[in-house]
Amino acid sequence: MLRRLAVFVFVAAALSGAASAQDTTVTIKSFKFMAMDVAVAPGSTVTWVNDDEEPHTVTSETGLFASGGLDTGQKFSYRFEKPGVYKYRCSIHPQMTGTVTVK
């Protein structure tokens, strides 16, 4: 019985993408994504929170994800399934850039 349970847990972990998937929060403050570069395992969800008085967006360079305008206190989440380097910026203040590395 114990062995069967162990196998079940292993299969569940494999199905969820990776045992090390971990959710991460990026804070937007003073016109910066903090942290600017984050690394997560496949299957992880990254949540951005706008802590500025100015609205910002989280907009993928490739069009994969786009938050739309985030006013003060608003959040946006995206789940990264596949390994890769995902560049994004704020479409309102495009000098603000960030990267999510999925590996």
Binding site: D71, R89, S91, H93, P94, Q95
Partner: protein, 305 residues
């Protein structure tokens, strides 16, 4: 030539505070304070249009909790002008978050203007949704493209859009299609016709670290070089910065909503909170006049104070 140098020197006298006027005569600017604008020696000046900018309808933070109110006050100042301008020009960031109700409120306030003709170009705050709402309303004139041209009072106006396709480092961009359109739009025009070009973000690089510039604007300037009088207007930076280069005069407008820091004096651009009694002196409008006989263009900045 000596005369040219003397006139260029005169431009340095433009910092008169709340109201300043400068005239562009054959590409050589001369300046005089707004208080003198009504004097007989400038009697040829005729209000051509008024530029307003960066109204940020929807903004409600400390830097200005009543952006609807300050836009309405700017409209009242324009309505009180002794001679009404032919049209109003809004150089973008009409709204703060591109929301339909923000555009609606801006439209309602601007309906209070005695001058009903309005031309606009969007700011990046107006196209957070890639311009879906903007192009359905204020931007209809541009046929969904953002750039268009028209003539008024013998002056040719070209509206450019530089907020849809940002380049590395955050500078604005015009793009090949728009530049080809501009070349076509300007071709065949007499070099003696005054040209006014306007966009939201500065077409000249004011401060690259904050994205205050347009990466491919030099290609547009090359097309404009042969004209005797070129005026380049924009908003975006919520303060007045100006320069003259050859026959081209560059001028940025104040916001109707809130000021921003001077380039490089803060960690980031953004709303600058000032004491309430100082706010009106940092908001305002630019009145642009054409002196027909001298083929001159005159700009006058006014604050709400």
């Amino acid at each position: 030539m000596a005369d040219d140098i003397a006139r260029r020197t005169a431009l340095k006298c433009m910092a008169f505070g709340a109201g300043t006027v400068f005239a562009l005569s054959g590409g050589i600017p001369v300046s005089f304070p707004l208080a003198e604008a009504a004097s007989p020696k400038h009697a040829g000046a005729k209000p051509l249009f008024v530029q307003i900018s960066d109204s940020h309808i929807g903004f409600n933070k400390d830097a200005n909790p009543d952006v609807d109110g300050t836009l309405a006050r700017v409209a009242a100042v324009i309505n009180d002008m002794p001679a009404q301008p032919a049209f109003i020009l809004h150089t973008g960031d009409i709204t703060h978050l591109s929301k339909p109700d923000e555009f609606d409120r801006a439209r309602q306030i601007l309906k209070g203007l005695r001058t009903s003709e309005l031309h606009t170009t969007p700011g990046e705050h107006d196209v957070i949704d890639q311009g879906r709402v903007y192009f359905d309303g204020f931007g209809k004139e541009s046929g969904g493209k953002g750039y268009y041209s028209f003539d008024s009072g013998g002056v040719h106006f070209a509206a450019l859009i530089n907020v849809l396709d940002f380049k590395q480092g955050g500078l604005g961009a015009l793009g090949a299609d728009q530049l080809a359109w501009l070349a076509d739009d300007l071709s065949g025009r007499a070099a003696s016709q005054p040209v006014v070009v306007f966009a939201h973000m500065p077409l000249w690089t004011i401060y690259a670290p904050w994205g205050w510039g347009t990466s491919d604007a030099d290609a547009a300037f090359a097309l404009l070089k042969r004209f005797g009088s070129v005026t380049v207007l924009n908003g975006h930076i919520h303060q007045i910065v100006q320069k003259v280069e050859g026959n081209m005069t560059f001028h940025t407008a104040r916001s109707t909503a809130y000021p921003q820091p001077v380039a490089g004096t803060a960690d980031a651009p953004g709303p600058l909170k000032v004491p309430p009694e100082k706010l009106a002196g940092m908001l305002g409008l630019t009145s642009v006049s054409l002196r027909r006989h001298a083929a001159a263009i005159t700009l006058a900045d006014r604050t709400l104070a």
